[in-house]
Structure formats: C-alpha cells, structure tokens
C-alpha cells in the first residue's frame, strides 16, 4: 500500500463525517487479537441496496471485519456507522448471521425455537413469546424451504438445513442490513440456490447484505460489489473493478491457483 493512501485513510477515520446515505460505513477499523493485527485500518462504505462479497484468503480478517464492525470483538481503532448513525444505535435494523460452526447444535432447541430467537429482542424484556411471533418465525422458515423441519431438534438437521435455520432467524428480524459470515460454507447445492434467491429478494427490497464469501468462482454471479481484504483493504467496488487479476494476486499472493484466478475474473 502506498504511503499516500494510508494517510488518507487514517485522516478519514478522524475527520470524515458519517456518510448519511450508506447503510454500512466503516472507517479506520483496526483489530488486533495478539501481537499481529488481524485487521488493519479498513475503510469501507457499502452502496445502499447492494449485495457485497467480502473476499480474501484464510486469516485475512473477513469474519473479524464483520465482528469488529458490530463491536463483537475489541477494536484498537475505527468506527462503524449504519444508516448515518453509530452502528451501536442501529442494531434493530441489522441482522447478523454468524458462522454455522460457532454454536453447539446439540442445544435443546428446535428449528422453530432458533428462528423465533431472532424476535426476542423485538419482543422485549419480560414479555412472553406469543403465537404471532412463532407464526412469523414459521413463515421465515417456510421462505427458506424449512417448514417441514420446524419441529426437529437442530442437531438432527443437515449442515445446509442448519444454515437455513440461521438465515430464517435473521430474516424474521426484518432488518435493512444483513451481515452474513460464510453462509455458503459447506452447504448442499439446493441450499446454495435458496440462499442466492434470498439474497436477490432482499436486494430487490432495497436491503443491503455484506457477505463473507470464500468461493471466488461465484462472486461475479451472486454479488454486485466486492471488498477484497488481506488484513489491509486491497480493493473495493463493483465486482468487475475490484476482482481484477492484479488485485487478486495482491490479496492471495502465490496461494491462488491459475484456474481459480480465471474462474474469479471470469
């Protein structure tokens, strides 16, 4: 990264006014778990209504980018805004879908129980879950083709079905911004199609989705924009502009096989 760009981005962290237009606006985001930073001085402003892929090699800080923006891990510096206000004040309009491996699927709950959890915050303290809440959660499950599995214990579901339960829990929140961590990882083809259809539907309703994505060959087909990371921000913008051969080489170094590269840049 050239020194000029670094100066501009750190200045942005201090002086830039919040972008009132963008549903998701991060500046100067820096996270360090141990000595080496996991994420270094990231600026990113998502266009409204866009489907954005967050792309980069393993350990590039893609998940950390979402968690840092949401305040789920301690940040060294940086701030995140949503819809023109600090992100922390906009949580009701944001739905987060963590990685599937992050929870214990032996937990005593059914698919419907988990989908309903998306509403707990909206239902509020001391108020019971009512029939209409469970019906809303059931509708979200049905939208993901999971109505038949609503009463099944979540450990009895396949990986793809578990991912759909997570998406139903996010969908039921009726958010305007969706942050998803690897929703396509380890799912079957039918689930992949279901998720793509869901993303398109959300986008058509003017909603924005920031999606950590590992499959370079489908970025072009599934997403409008891409954010290329490897600890630092490598490139961002419309997929065709961000996912150039030069940028991919800078992000992945020698780790990218020639075939992957061709698939990625189409």
């Amino acid at each position: 990264m050239s020194p000029e760009i670094r100066v501009v981005s750190s200045a942005a962290a201090i002086h830039d006014p919040v972008d009132a237009e963008s549903p998701f606006d991060v500046s100067g985001l820096t996270v360090a778990y141990n000595q080496a930073p996991a994420l270094w001085n990231i600026d990113y402003t998502a266009p409204a209504g866009a489907l954005v892929a967050v792309v980069g090699p393993n350990g590039a800080g893609k998940s950390t980018f979402l968690k840092g923006a949401l305040g789920l891990v301690p940040t060294v510096a940086g701030r995140a805004a949503a819809f023109g206000a600090p992100l922390g004040t906009m949580r009701r309009r944001i739905a987060y879908v963590p990685q599937r491996e992050s929870v214990d699927w032996a937990f005593p709950a059914t698919a419907l129980d988990v989908a309903t959890m998306g509403l707990y915050r909206k239902i509020g303290w001391l108020r019971p879950v009512r029939r209409r809440h469970r019906e809303a959660a059931l509708a979200a499950l049905a939208e993901l083709g999971m109505a038949d599995f609503a009463d099944r214990q979540i450990g009895q579901l396949s990986g793809g079905q578990q991912q759909r339960v997570f998406l139903a829990r996010a969908l039921v929140q009726d958010a305007d911004l969706y942050l998803m961590d690897e929703p396509f990882a380890g799912v079957d083809a039918a689930t992949e199609r279901t998720i793509v259809a869901l993303l398109r539907r959300l986008s058509a309703q003017g909603k924005t989705a920031i999606v950590v994505h590992h499959d370079l060959s489908t970025v072009r087909e599934y997403f409008d924009a891409a954010l290329l990371l490897n600890v630092r921000r490598i490139a961002a913008g419309p997929v065709a502009e961000a996912m150039t051969e030069a940028n991919l080489q800078r992000a992945y170094g020698g780790r990218l096989a020639a075939t992957q590269l061709t698939a990625a840049i189409g």
């Binding site: 949401l70 949580r91 079957d188």
Partner: protein, 393 residues
Amino acid sequence: MAGDIWAALTLGAGYNAVVVMLGLAALGAAAGPVGAFMILKRRPLLADAVAHATLPGVALGFLAALALTGDGRQPAFLLIGAAMTGALAAGAMHLLKDGERIGEDAATAAALSVAFGLGVALLSLIQALPTGGQAGLNAYLLGQAAAMTGQEAWVGAAVGGGALVILTLLFKELSQAAFDPVQAAAQGMPVRMLDLVTSALMLALVAAGLRAVGLVLILALLVTPAAAARFWTDRLPRLAVLAAIFGAGGAYLGAGLSAALPGVPTGALIVIILSLVFAFSLAFAPRRGAIAAGLRRLRLRRLLARRAALASIAAGAPPGDRRLAQRRGWIDGAGAATPAGLAAAALWAREDTLRARYLDNRPEEAGRIAASERPIWELLPRDVIAELERSGA
C-alpha cells in the same frame, strides 16, 4: 427406622425438619435450571470451583465472628464469608480466562485448588485455637441438614424462590444468550450482564445450600438434575422444568432421609438420590435412553436382515439368513421361494427403486427414509410417489 423415614418424608418430623426440607426443595428447584444453563454454556465446573472457594470464606467468617462476638459459629458471618470468597474466585476465573493466556479449564483448576487449599489451611488453624469448636464447620464440607436452623432454611427458601423468579423473567434472554451469545450480542442483548446473572444465581444457591449439602457435593445438586432431564426432552423450557422437579425432589428426599438417619451427611444422600434419577433416565428414557437406543439398533439390524433376504429372493438366489426367510414364510423347507416370498420380494424391489430415486435428489433425507421400517409410500406424499414412479419410466 422405616417409620422414622416415612414420618420425615411426609412432613411429620417436627417443625424444624419440615422447614429445612421445604427450604432445600426450593433451593433444589432453582439449582436444576441454573445447572442446566451452566451445562449448556459448557462450564459446569465453574460451580465446583466456586463451591470449593467458599471454604476459606467460611473459615474467615468464623474468625471474624470469633473476634467480634466471641463465638465463631454465627451463620450470617459464615454465609457472607462464603459468598465473598466464592465471588472472588468466580471473578478471578473470568479474568484469567479473558486474558487468553490460559484456557478456562486451567483457570478453573487453578482457582479451585488454590482456594480449597487455603480453606483447609485456615480450618486447621481454627482447630488449633483454644476456642476452636471446629465441629460446626465440618458440616460445610459434606452437609448436614439437621444442623440447619429454621432461619437458615428460610434463607434457603428465599434464595431458591428468588432465583426461580429471576430465571422465569429472563428465560427467553438467557436461552438466546446460552445458544448463540455472539448473535445475541449483535442484536444488542447485554450478554455479559446475563452471564453475570447466571453466575450470581449459581453463587447464591451454592452459598445458601452450603451448610445443608456441603461444598464438596453441591455440584451434584446443580448438574445432575439437568443432566438427567436432558435424556427426556429436546426442548429447553421442558428441560428446565424437569431439572427443577428432579432438583426439588432430590433435595427434599435427601433432607428428609437425613432427618431420619442423622449419622449420614445430607450431601451424600442427595447425591445418591440424584444419581439414581440419573441412572434411571440414562437407562429408561424413551428415544435417548440406553435401552431405547439398544432396541433401535436391534430393530435396524432386523430390518437390514429382512431387506437382504428379500433382495436375495428377488435376485433368484437363496437368502443368506434361511431361518428368518423360513419364519416369514418366504421360502419353503427346500429353500425355494414361496409365492408369498416372491410377492414380498417384488414389493421390496419396487420400494428400493423408489427409495434410491428419491435419495438421489434429497441425500440429506437418507437417515429418515432409508432407516424407516415403514415403506416409502407411507412416508412421502402421494404426489411425490407418483412423480418418482414416473421418473423411471
């Protein structure tokens, strides 16, 4: 003696014993669901460490009471001391774990052994004092419900009842934070505060139950009811209610028996009763119990053997398991297929084809469809079956 036990269990053991039993039942009712949350968060040993860490508090409380009032055996001093060092240990474990230099298990082990060692040393010190009278303190190790005063039992009942109220009010938030704390935090749920609530409830239950159950065994009151309840249900609300019932029942019976058998520590009796509940659940629970699982395996083996025999008959070969085929009337004494055997084999062949076609497109359904004893046309809607029949033509 049987009469004594019966009298105790039916609340005929005198006012004090009755109050102790009911107070412990309330504690047990709250300990069940609190233990369920501890297990679901994968930190049941936190309770054990906190329980052991109450010992130095008990000893310090004794010394403080001795210095201030001249008599060390003041329950209020001992209780407050226990709660204070227990909380200190819980806080130390949180700090050690958050430092990420050592794991949670190592932090727990360190806190447990350091605090317990300190407690044992302090107890020895007290024993050497001329005004020692350590006998009262031994009850804190293994528990002696009979040594509890009515007042202490009322405190136990109040703590148990209060914990149950808090659990009920926060149940929805606690379950979300237990299942997926990261997603809950993303939605703005105060996950750390909820974590603290669980730990505080656990600490209150441990401190209040210490004298009756003993610090060595109070872990059993927290963990065993929930572990047993897990065999009976896949839903957290039912799990919590069941754990509460087991916990209350175990504590009530344990206290009742110890009123009739004064030589046996109450903690030990409660552990024995709860272990029996656990063993019964492990063996006999439908679906998740060991016997149900064994029967299920046996049924599947038989199903596979039947299908293998029919496959052989359909292929015109003698079935490998002749006894099974003969018992079913599929082959005659000479080993030749009977008309009934041929019909069953034809039905099997049709079912096998449909099953294979269906699972080609829905591999994730293999468990449900392939292992069912019912034929596939009873498992799937008629139009799906018709579709499958057509797709081969």
